[in-house]
């Protein structure tokens, strides 16, 4: 049985009646990394948020979202809350804005842990520190005391990944986590995700419009255009030999840039990946 089965999701704007996503279905297996690609406005973010029922109240959804057989859409708010963070984790695009600016990062992390587990404070700190060191945040105690604006975007992304490592969810949903980062940090964070896959067996839904990142990290790719899933397949097939014309168009435009870039760099000092 698949870990996550999304069946006939329909998302529409409750105020205007505008249908944003008419009918989407896909599955995710354990340990699999599925990338969702598409241009801005294709509905990638909406789909992701719908999985955790995090869209704004005006955005309505229907359809079945089955996690290990349990239909998330039928859960009450209280039950859904228990799933969020514990069984499904989200990693946001903009690290700087994802944290409460008036609280130190550590306070937030400890609170989240206390919602889902009843560990003692020292146990929480112990597991957080292990996770943070493994994502490359060596000054663990310093990071915990810092306010969000005192840390860089990349560091905050790693904090979110570390939290996911501690929670060990079934599904990690990463909504364009590398889009807001500069190229070097992007590379580092993507490496963290690869490392994350090795550490815990979570399935990952990775939204991105950057095909290079997708190439590095995803097993399967889902291509979306204007709210519709246009194609799905293995990464290598989609990126090299896609069936749908839109996919070929998407790949070729990025490919042209990539080739030009490689040409400029002449293959030296280029990060392998």
């Amino acid at each position: 049985m698949s870990l996550l089965e999304v069946e006939h999701i329909k998302i529409w704007d409750g105020r205007t009646g505008n249908v944003l996503i008419p009918d989407s279905s896909f599955q995710l297996s354990q340990g699999e990394c599925l990338a969702i690609v598409g241009e801005s406005g294709s509905g990638k973010s909406l789909t992701c948020k719908a999985l955790m029922r995090l869209n704004r109240p005006e955005i309505r959804q229907s359809g079945r979202i089955s996690l290990y057989g349990v239909d998330l859409a039928s859960l009450s708010d209280k039950e859904m809350r228990r799933y969020r963070g514990r069984r499904m984790c989200m990693i946001m695009q903009n690290g700087m804005r994802a944290f409460d600016p008036s609280r130190p990062v550590g306070a937030f992390l400890l609170e989240v842990l206390s919602i889902h587990y009843d560990w003692s404070r020292s146990e929480m700190i112990a597991s957080l520190s292990t996770a943070m060191i493994s994502v490359g945040l060596k000054n663990f105690s310093v990071v915990m005391e810092r306010y969000p604006h005192e840390l860089s975007g990349g560091m905050l992304q790693r904090v979110m990944i570390a939290l996911a490592i501690v929670m060990e969810p079934d599904v990690i949903i990463a909504d364009e986590p590398t889009t807001a980062l500069d190229a070097v940090t992007q590379y580092e964070v993507v490496e963290q995700f690869v490392h994350l896959r090795g550490r815990i067996g979570s399935a990952i839904v990775f939204v991105s419009h950057d095909l290079e990142v997708v190439r590095r990290i995803a097993d399967d790719v889902l291509v979306m255009k204007d709210g519709v899933i246009v194609e799905r397949g293995k990464t290598s097939k989609i990126l090299n030999d896609a069936s749908h014309s839109y996919t070929r168009f998407l790949v070729s435009s990025k490919e042209a840039l990539r080739r030009y870039y490689m040409q400029l760099m002449e293959g030296t000092d280029v990060a392998k990946g």
Binding site: L54, R84, G85, C89, R97, F99, P101, S102, I115, M160
Partner: protein
């Protein structure tokens, strides 16, 4: 943090000096010779050149400007603002009690304004776009377009005349506070609650609320955190509001015959009693600057982001 506070306090000093100097030379604005004004105010029938000249010497107005300024400043610090041109009594004996009366009115009004603004602001933000939000905003819009005296007249007519419930003038019992406070509160809460509302709305739409929700936090907790962040704006707003309300109770005091600062000032303006006007300007300007500084410091203390920019 402490460094910032000290820096602000130190920066205050030159500002206060400049303000006091400007207030001092305010007298010079008047087209009339100050000595002449004194004589007018005292009701002297014939004012000759010699009388003016001798009055000038008498009042010490023939000394150099800076000397006069220094003297004046020194005596101000001892709360000696000179004597009223009209009554001859020391200014502070008139200003002091008036200030106290106005303070009583302002403090009580401010408390109500703060509470009502926060409650209305939060309610409207949480129910944004719904009936309650729209109607509260609509009514307050209307009420804040009303001149204070019109509103006051309406209330006096309604409560005092028709229902005969409350006193309409003077500063007597606790009941006499009700109408003036209501008029002031309606005028200001109507504006300030909108600030709180927009601050809350912008916070509610922020990503950290989404992430918190995604990590399993309850709506109640999230709303509390949003509230905390929104209220930071509130503190600086209310910090500034207090001296503003203090200075602009003029009309309300006039209508309700409240023996406060406003009444005194209007009387002094009509009677060209300069020392009182001068003292009024100085006291309020200093209060304003002090409140400004305190509110800025509190803002920085509460909002860690601002410290980064210092």
């Amino acid at each position: 943090m402490i460094l910032y506070t000290l820096k602000r306090i130190v920066a205050l000093v030159p500002l206060l000096v400049v303000i006091s100097f400007l207030t001092f030379i305010l007298n010079g604005l008047s087209p009339m010779n100050p000595a002449e004004v004194v004589l007018h105010a005292q009701g002297v029938p014939t004012i000759t050149e010699e009388l003016i000249a001798s009055t000038r010497v008498e009042l010490g107005m023939d000394r150099p400007l800076l000397v006069r300024y220094g003297d004046w400043l020194l005596s101000c610090l001892q709360l000696d603002f000179g004597n009223s041109y009209i009554t001859g009594k020391p200014v502070w004996s008139l200003l002091g009690p008036a200030l106290l009366n106005t303070l009583k009115l302002t403090i009580i009004s401010s408390l109500f304004i703060i509470v009502i603004s926060i409650v209305l602001g939060v309610v409207c933000a949480l129910k944004e776009g719904k009936w309650m939000d729209l109607s509260i905003r609509g009514i307050s819009f209307f009420l804040t377009s009303m001149p204070a005296y019109w509103l006051a007249a309406l209330m006096v007519w309604c409560f005092a005349v028709k229902l005969d419930l409350l006193p309409t003038s003077g500063m007597g019992s606790a009941g006499s506070y009700v109408l003036p406070v209501m008029v002031i509160v309606i005028g200001y809460a109507g504006i300030y609650f909108r600030v709180i509302r927009s601050s809350m709305l912008s916070n509610l739409n922020d990503d950290y609320v989404l992430y918190g929700r995604a990590c399993g936090m309850s709506e109640m907790k999230l709303t509390l955190y949003v509230l905390r962040n929104s209220l930071q704006v509130a503190v600086s707003v209310f910090g500034l509001a207090f001296p503003i309300i203090l200075g602009s109770t003029v009309v309300v005091e006039n209508i309700f015959a409240w023996p406060g600062l406003g009444t005194l000032t209007v009387k002094s303006i009509l009677g060209r009693d300069f020392p009182i006007i001068q003292a009024y300007v100085l006291v309020l300007a200093v209060a304003f600057v002090l409140f400004n500084t305190v509110s800025d410091v509190m803002n920085v203390a509460m909002n860690p982001r601002l410290r980064k920019e210092l």
